[in-house]
């Protein structure tokens, strides 16, 4: 059976937070000597405190310019008045300032004065899948390390393009360069496979190039918040059009049959799994079809944004009376972990607002529950959690759940309407 990837962590970001104790083996060839001066450690400090709050890697991508991951410096973007960024190359530490960031692709560009290090050239093309590559970084701040691996092309699921790499990246190597045989940059380290580190992910260098041309950001809290907001809205637009565009596309096989239910087929960019559970003693059959996105951007303090989770289920009862059957269904949406209450005191999301009602969609009647939280710092964006159980037949029911992170109300309405109107019994006319 295919392992379900947790919704909020297809990939484990490489910022050093936990000691994993594994050290990359030292490289001895010429590449190491040639590259070592161009790879730096990126640290985010809070105030006067000498201790680091966050640690990652970076590399010189243009004179006075360091490329790293957005998630390495995310804390700074969120609260620039509280943090300072520093870059350490060899034994020398330099203050650095944020020049640009790309939340969607998890990239950031830093400016450093007086850093005398050679620029790593960007490759013009990606190597063919199966090519050997090497990755540099400073795991846990232990020292510059090189890891050899293989580029396998792109991961097939998700909103953002991720290079799929056979190599064990470690914490703290986030933001380090991925090089081809010629020593040119083909991408940036970003994350490892959830709960196992033999597969890792990178951002292709083509996503980095546009950052080199944007004018430097103003570093006030308001300006950074406005830029984050702008990028979140753009991400939302993109995610919505990919989601709804594919849902509405006429040429696709429009439906997916789940047990005795039929639903809108989710777009291919989702990672979906199918499961049927027969509860013999109870006389209940439950068929599930769940989908989520493998790769969604992570914004500091918001977690995964632009993430979408879908779950379609069909319940059928052979023996249970209608009262008991629906009694059991009542327990189902409540046990749904996604509808757990959120602490409003974290200052990131508001307290949830919920609306529950029996609602007609097409020929069906559903009991629909929606809870939503607004993003405190980003007006117009919300988290939505919807669960709906059909009430049309005494001994079977279809169930739809939809979880959106960082979406506008209009997008939620369009997607939710589409899913509810598209859900029916397989044998319905």
């Amino acid at each position: 059976m295919r392992a379900r990837v947790p919704a909020n962590g297809a990939a484990w970001l490489l910022t050093a937070q936990l000691a994993s104790g594994q050290e990359a083996r030292p490289a001895t060839d010429r590449t190491y000597d040639r590259i070592k001066h161009s790879v730096v450690t990126v640290q985010v400090h809070s105030g006067d405190n000498e201790a680091k709050d966050s640690l990652g890697s970076g590399y010189v991508v243009a004179p006075g310019r360091i490329a790293t991951n957005y998630h390495v410096v995310g804390a700074y973007v969120d609260a620039p008045e509280r943090y300072a960024i520093r870059v350490r190359g060899g034994a020398v530490e330099h203050p650095a300032r944020l020049v640009a960031f790309d939340l969607t692709n998890d990239l950031a560009l830093l400016g450093v004065e007086g850093l005398d290090a050679p620029v790593l050239p960007l490759a013009r093309t990606l190597p063919p899948p199966g090519s050997a590559i090497v990755s540099f970084g400073n795991p846990q701040g232990l020292g510059l390390s090189l890891i050899e691996g293989i580029f396998n092309g792109f991961a097939e699921k998700g909103f953002v393009d991720r290079m799929l790499l056979s190599m064990p990246l470690n914490s703290g190597m986030s933001g380090g360069p991925i090089l081809n045989q010629k020593g040119e940059v083909v991408g940036t380290n970003v994350s490892v496979m959830w709960l196992q580190n033999s597969l890792s992910f990178g951002v292709p260098e083509s996503r980095l190039r546009p950052l080199l041309d944007v004018p430097p950001l103003s570093l006030t809290r308001e300006a950074l918040r406005a830029e984050t907001h702008r990028q979140l809205l753009a991400l939302e637009q993109d995610a919505f059009s990919k989601l709804v565009g594919r849902l509405l596309a006429p040429e696709r096989p429009a439906r997916v049959v789940v047990g005795g239910g039929a639903f809108e087929r989710p777009p291919e960019l989702f990672d979906c799994w199918n499961q049927t559970s027969v509860f013999k003693d109870e006389g209940v059959t439950k068929t599930s079809y769940g989908c989520n996105l493998q790769f969604t951007p992570a914004e500091e303090s918001l977690g995964e944004v632009g993430s979408v989770e879908l779950l379609f289920e069909h319940f059928a009862s052979a023996r249970a009376g209608r009262w008991g059957f629906y009694g059991a269904l009542s327990e189902h949406p409540g046990s749904h972990h996604e509808l757990e209450p959120r602490d409003p005191k974290n200052g990131v999301l508001t307290a949830p607002e919920c609306v529950a009602e029996r609602t007609r969609a097409g020929a069906m009647v559903f009991k629909v529950h929606t809870c939503l939280n607004a993003f405190v710092k980003h007006p117009g964006l919300y988290n939505f959690d919807l669960v709906a159980s059909s009430l049309s037949r005494p001994d079977e029911s279809v169930f739809v759940s939809l979880h959106l992170r960082g979406f506008r109300f209009q997008s939620f309405r369009t997607v939710a309407r589409r899913l509810l109107e598209g859900a029916r019994f397989k044998d319905a006319p």
Partner: protein
């Protein structure tokens, strides 16, 4: 002929028939109908005919007055069988014919204060147990296919009632005794057993409300019905064996229950707010004879979600300003 009957707890305990008017009612020895009660004046009221020949009872200026229902009146016209109260004493006045057909109600007035046997207590307890079983049977969870042992669930609730009901009856008995009521444990036990039946009644009403009302209204109905049930139970229990249950008494208790209720719902909603917990009712009721319940259109539903989103946005704005102000 005029019959004057003395009542106690609504039951006739004394009757006297008079052939002629007027009649004086009071505590004094000269009264025609003597009432030995401290709340009654010596010559409290007079039964007479007015100019039109209609029968009426006139207050003679008794300190505690003449009451028709909860209202204090100067005079009360008697047509048919009429009930009234002189001070704390309940009376029934009725013009009667010569037919000797009037029968006193066979319920002995002293019944309620009599010591009752174990059988009676068992009967009351059984009534309470039946009420609890009835509400258990209406709980969909009991019939859920995931419910492995509905029988033990039922037995559990029976045992719980068997323990809790006598205990509650005793506590209520102590409280009422302290308030000076002439009450026995059998009274409180039978009263509480009747109160238990509010639970299945409440389930029936909320279920009906859920099917027949749109979501927003149904969400209102459930706490409203719970409030009404609590009110009924408390007023009923507090008024147990109280001879004069006037309007002020009922209103006072109703106000107290309502205040307590409001306080509790305010506290729980504040607590829920503090925990960030949405108060969700996930109950999914089955279609009955093809009727899934009153439902709204998707448009109406999303309009409500939009309103919720606007509320959350306003909330976010407030939090943002607080954060930026720091």
């Amino acid at each position: 002929m005029i019959a004057i009957r003395l009542l106690r707890e609504g039951a006739v305990v004394r009757e006297q028939v008079f052939p002629a008017l007027p009649l004086v009612l009071g505590r004094g020895p000269q009264a025609d109908f003597v009432l030995a009660d401290a709340s009654v004046s010596r010559a409290h009221a007079q039964l007479e005919r007015d100019e039109q020949g209609r029968l009426q009872l006139v207050d003679l200026g008794g300190v505690n007055g003449l009451h028709a229902g909860a209202q204090r009146v100067k005079a009360l016209s008697i047509s048919g069988t009429t009930r009234c109260r002189l001070g704390a004493v309940e009376l029934e006045i009725a013009p009667v014919t010569d037919d000797p057909t009037l029968e006193l109600r066979s319920v002995p007035w002293h019944h309620e204060e009599q010591r009752r046997g174990l059988g009676h207590h068992g009967l009351y307890l059984g009534l309470g147990v039946l009420g609890a079983v009835a509400s258990q049977l209406m709980n969909p969870g009991l019939w859920s296919p995931w419910q492995r042992s509905p029988a033990s669930e039922l037995v559990g609730s029976v045992v719980a009632v068997l323990i809790a009901l006598p205990l509650a009856a005793f506590l209520l008995f102590v409280a009422l005794k302290a308030a000076g009521r002439r009450v026995r444990v059998a009274d409180t036990l039978s009263a509480l057993a009747r109160v238990v039946w509010l639970s299945p009644l409440w389930i029936i009403l909320t279920t009906a409300a859920d099917y027949l009302l749109p979501g927003a209204a149904a969400a209102f109905a459930s706490p409203l019905l719970a409030w009404a049930a609590t009110l009924a139970a408390v007023v009923f229990l507090a008024g147990l064996r109280r001879p004069d249950r006037g309007r002020a008494f009922t209103l006072g208790w109703a106000a107290a229950v309502t205040a307590l209720w409001l306080g509790m719902s305010l506290t729980s909603s504040l607590a829920a707010q503090r925990l960030g917990m949405p108060q969700n009712d996930y109950t999914v009721r089955p279609p009955l004879a093809g009727f899934a319940g009153v439902s709204s259109s998707l448009d109406a539903y999303f309009a409500r979600v939009q309103t919720a989103a606007e509320a959350a946005a306003a909330d976010a704005e407030g939090v943002r300003q607080t954060q930026d102000g720091r």
